[in-house]
Symmetry: C2
Subunit: 141 residues, 2 copies
DNA sequence: ATAGAATCTAGAGTGCAATCTAGGTCAAGC
DNA sequence: GCTTGACCTAGATTGCACTCTAGATTCTAT
């Protein structure tokens, strides 16, 4: 699950397709040390990724899509790179992020309720032509 | 609900406190035409807000916190400013945003499940000292 | 062998949403 | 009256996360 001994060699373009990230982003991630290892190169200097890199990037996508900043992913990557023994720290980082995501969902749900309320008000108004409860252009004097 | 005839006059600092926005942000919003009216000024040129402005800003906060970009809020504000008659457009804008928020919540929930799965795996590992299913520092050769 | 596509590097540029700076003006309390 | 804090404008700067540029090199298919 983390070898490239067999035939597992992917170009940067392949990885871009597999992860939805752009090639520029992949190079950027490498500069930012977001990978779990130095990505090996061909004799000519082109990057050779493995399936494990793609799997890691897919997890990164989940973390980032759920709002973890690059710096957070970088910290997690650094922990993994520094080898076994720091699993409690990795767990703490993930738990913290999980809390953050739950809070974010709660906030969004609260906003959604407000917005949905507005939608209902507007629907009612648009259906029967009243203006009660709508924002109207206020006077500026 | 939208007058300043009584005693309803708020300074920019008051509004900042009431909405959680910074004074810089409030001036920025005004430049961006996010308000429903031109904010009136004192003889000396200082902004005088009303309660209706605060209420609008609180709705703006909900929209923005739920991911609507400034440009979207601006479009909504422009519709309201341009007076009655475009309620169907306002409704469409809000419905569209509601869909966006629901999608966002669904995405976050999906990510949360992945992350929670990772947390469970790590918890198990940290509790009983195995390394199954964890990322380990991969070899780079 | 060679054309064309993909990749390389270093660094500049983009977009969003503020946020801050500089150099003043205004207003409230003592 | 005067100090002190809040406020004013215009414009520069920040931070994040890419995204693109230019010019050179490498790989692939014919």
């Amino acid at each position: 699950m983390s070898e490239q001994a067999t035939e597992d060699a992917l170009s940067i373009g392949d990885v871009a397709k597999a992860t939805g990230l752009g090639v520029h982003a992949l190079r950027f991630f490498e500069r930012e040390e977001l990978f779990l290892r130095p990505i090996p190169r061909t004799a000519g200097g082109q990057r050779v990724y493995g399936l494990a890199d793609v799997e890691w990037l897919l997890l990164c996508n989940r973390l980032r899509d759920s709002g973890m900043p690059i710096a957070g992913v970088k910290r997690f990557a650094r922990l993994v790179r520094s080898g076994p023994g720091n699993e409690p720290e990795r767990l703490a980082l993930l738990e913290e992020h999980e809390r953050t995501v739950r809070d974010k969902i709660a906030d969004l749900t609260a906003s959604l309720e407000i917005i949905h309320g507005k939608v209902l008000t507007y629907r009612k108004h648009v259906e029967d032509g009243t203006a009660a409860g709508l924002w109207s252009p206020p006077p500026s004097p």
